[in-house]
Amino acid sequence: MASSGAHSIAIDECMALGYVGEIAQDYHVGFLGNFHVTNALFEETEEVTADVQRCIDEGTRFPGYVFGLGGPLTQHINSSRLDTAVTTLFHQTRSTQSISSFTENHSSDEAIVQKEDER
């Protein structure tokens, strides 16, 4: 995949992100992934914050890392868990201004979150 000619690759949740980062670095391409959608969002058996931290720790060892999901969101999820993932990412990696902006937007969506949580 890294040698395909694309600027970047995105990998699913089965791959070790650090291993992919090494390959991406060798081929000078970006890499995207691979938050555990199945366990953290669909089945809710894995801690969201721990898996975001795994992505940050492994991904940032190499240039060209983009945080992303290890698969598409193809079923209903508890959206507040994805909110938590984004909050964790921003708290770990972004400026105070960005975090404030996300928190304000998140607050304005509270009604949506509550509605979904009721389902």
Binding site: S8, G30, Y65, H76, V86
Partner: protein, 236 residues
Amino acid sequence: MAKDHLIRALRGERVAQIPWLPHIGTHAAQLLDVSVSHYLQDAALLARGAVLCTDRYQCDGIPLLDDPSMEAMTLGCVPHWSEQGPPSIVSSPLSMLSTEQLSEYLPPLPDETTGRWPTVIAAGALAKPELERRNVALVGVAAGPCTIAYQLRGMRLFADLFRNPDLASRLFAYAGQISAISARIYAEVIGCDIVAINDTPATMLQPAYFRQYVLPNLQAAWQIIHAAGKTSSLWA
């Protein structure tokens, strides 16, 4: 600098902040409180969904449409629509044909007037200015050669790889043309900043088959995306 950071990272640079690009699937339908079948076939909903997800999750790029069966439907595959998940292909025009018949029955190549493309293009026209105002990248996600070949031929594709490699080569070459057409529409007509080729079924192939059947048939799409000055990505 959200979009700039994302594009630079996707091109292999280390950037100051980790960019964030969600593989959003059909999640926007949930946020919009509409059925997936309605969401995927309505330009206004697709655009609103992209903007809503962007605002809610503060991402640096967002797919306009994340439906790997879109191209297959333009080629005559019949979908089964779902309320909560993406459509699945239940009938494929090439699945029952003999190997001898296959080449002569390849569907005509689509263009921007075919199938759901007018809806997707209209959605792009609505979403792009909103995302530009937020400095967020618009992402086009096209189906890859293996995805398209598999949807057209069904499980018989994998038998073709063993028993009829010449035929499989022609089918993959045709599918690569479809991927390139999608890449052109996303890059040139809609003006997406990033165009991804999503080819998850290709990960089922052993490396030799991936090199033989998939890699050569991705090149036309990359050339189109790069010639348009856009950023490319291979999703699996």
